[in-house]
Each structure stands twice: as C-alpha cells, then as structure tokens.
Subunit: 191 residues, 2 copies
C-alpha cells in the first residue's frame, strides 16, 4: 500500500525503544521521533503509554508461543516436550533483547507495570503448558492431575533450577535439569 502504516511504525519504534531502554526510560517523544510520527498520532492508536506497552507484550507472548510451537513434537513424550518447551523459553528469555531489559528493570527498579507484564507472560506460558499436560493425561501417558497446578510447578521448578540454584552453586547443564525433571516429577523419589 502507498500510504504509510503509521500504527506499524509506532509499534516497531516502541518495541525498539522498550528493548533498548526499558519501560520507564522510554518516552513518548522518543517513540514518536523514532517512528517519524507526531506524538499526537500515537494517541490516535493507543490510549496511554501503558496500552502501547501492553500491545508490545502481546506480540512478545505471540513470539514466545511461536518459538515454543516450533520445538513441540506431537509424537514425542511429555517429558521430552516439557523439557523442550522450558528450555526454549529459557533460551529465549536470555537472548531476546526486550525480555533481557524487562527482567533487568523488574529486578533493579521494580517498575510495577513491568512486574505485571512479566506475570502476564508467565501466565501465558503456564496456560500453554497446561494444554500439553492435559493432552498427556488424555493419552494416559501420565496420571490424572490438575494440569494447571502441574504446569505451574514445572515452570517454577525449572526457573528455580536455572536461576536460583546458581546463586550458590555451579550452574546445572541442560541434560542435568532434564534428568532432575525426570526423577522428581515423572518417576518420583520412592523406591
């Protein structure tokens, strides 16, 4: 199309700025300048800065979902799939500019808007895993259980192992984490 898609320009500029400077340090003037657009134009598409940010987070969630779907394999076992999904999420979080910046802002400044956004991202991952687990239950691959609690526990355990454990210990390799998941969650500790 001949006319410029201003909304798209704004979203691209905002994504770039949030990735580079985080939520707080990104100004609407900056986004307008980056998008080559008058500031008022932003407000014809987005009611507030927060709404603009939420749209960016929606894209982020979609991107993660796409990434995760690309490694899923219907015919593989639950364990295999859960490990692939979590590992992919983890790699994504550590390589994607926007998530890196937001995790940092959440930790260092505790910006409320950012905290809420990251929780929304986490929730969406849990919802996605919930689906995987429900399928495994239906197939009879694993025991009947609350799929949401199970997804929640898996995500928390994964992030504990990759983030918190290395605060006091050498980091665990990907295969080690997979082994731990298998032992704790699937086989169980009982002899």
């Amino acid at each position: 199309m001949a006319v410029i898609d201003r909304k798209k320009l704004i979203l691209e500029a905002a994504a770039k700025s949030f990735s580079l400077y985080g939520y707080k340090a990104t100004t609407m003037d900056q986004v307008a300048k980056l998008a080559n657009v008058g500031k008022g134009t932003i407000y014809t598409f987005f009611k507030t800065k927060e709404e603009l940010f939420e749209e960016i987070i929606n894209s982020l969630i979609a991107e993660i979902r796409y990434e995760v779907e690309s490694v899923m394999n219907e015919s593989a076992s639950v364990l295999e799939n859960v490990n692939r999904v979590l590992s992919r999420v983890h790699v994504f979080r550590e390589s994607h500019q926007l998530t890196i910046k937001l995790i940092q802002e959440e930790r260092d400044m505790g910006t409320q808007t950012v905290i809420e956004a990251m929780q929304r991202v986490e929730q969406s991952i849990i919802q996605y895993m919930k689906g995987i687990i429900q399928k495994a239950i239906d197939k009879g691959e694993i025991k009947t259980c609350n799929p949401e609690v199970t997804a929640f526990v898996m995500l928390k355990m994964y992030f504990s192992l990759v983030n918190d454990w290395q605060r006091n210990h050498p980091p665990l390799k990907k295969e080690e984490i997979a082994k731990l998941f298998e032992l704790y969650l699937l086989k169980g500790l009982l002899t």
Copy 2:
C-alpha cells in the same frame, strides 16, 4: 549473677527493635536506649551494626531449627517429615515478628543486608532438610539422589505453592499441598 549481662540486654533490645522497625529503621542509639546502655558499650561486643544483626539472625536460625526439630519424628516417613518441617517453617515465618518484618523489608525496600540474611536463613533450612533426605536415602526409603538439590527443589516448590500460587488462585490447603508433594516428588506422574 549480680552484674548485669549487658551483651544479653543489647541482643534483646536489638531483637525487639529489628522486629518492630526492621533493619534500616533501627538505629544504634535506639538499641542503646532500649537496652539501658551507653552506645559505646554496644561496640565492645559487636564491631558493627551489621555484626549485631547477624547475631540476631543466628538466633533466628537456631530458633527455627528448634521449632523444626520439635515436629520431626524419626520413625515417620520422609514425606511426613518433609511436610511437617516445611509446614512448620511456613507457619513460623508467618507468625514470627522478626521474619514478618524482614520479609516485608526485603520485598518493599530491597535492603541488601536483609536480602543476604534471608538467604542465609533459607540456606540453613536447606542444609537441615538435606540431612533428613540423606537419612531417607541411607534407609533405602527413597532413591539415590543429590540430597542438596532435592532439598532445594522441595523448599522452592513449597514456597511457590504457598506464596506464588495464591497470587492468581485461591490458596491451597495444607493437605492439598501434602498431596501435591506426594504426587509430584514421591510417586511421580508416570502411569
């Protein structure tokens, strides 16, 4: 004894003040006044404010260990004991003035000294649970596994379930948590 035990007075005053106002808002003048002692006297027993605080945390750790030991039962199963210990730790954290205040200060102000102290408390709980798990392994009650990672995973899972889960869901009852522990960690999900 006829002479007043000034060190004890200081420790009691400090414990009271830290419980009431937290670490940052407690001043050495205040502790001195509360203990009916000259400020200089504090410095004959403790090099710095931080050292005084660390002694208080040591008492806290000892107190938790005592609480935990009182509910342990050598002849009960690992599951039973782990659940008792974690539940006791949780109840303690929610009822003990000092821990309440410090958890709050950690969350709201992010005081570095407090963050480090709470991590030390957590570490000591993990070390204690490590012992329980090692015994269960020796008895052949559970599979061979790294007892420290196992203790770590158990504590993290417990705190996730009692603290994070209720951010978006109705809180889980103590028996529900026990059931989840049994399912996820002991029996495993595999059919």
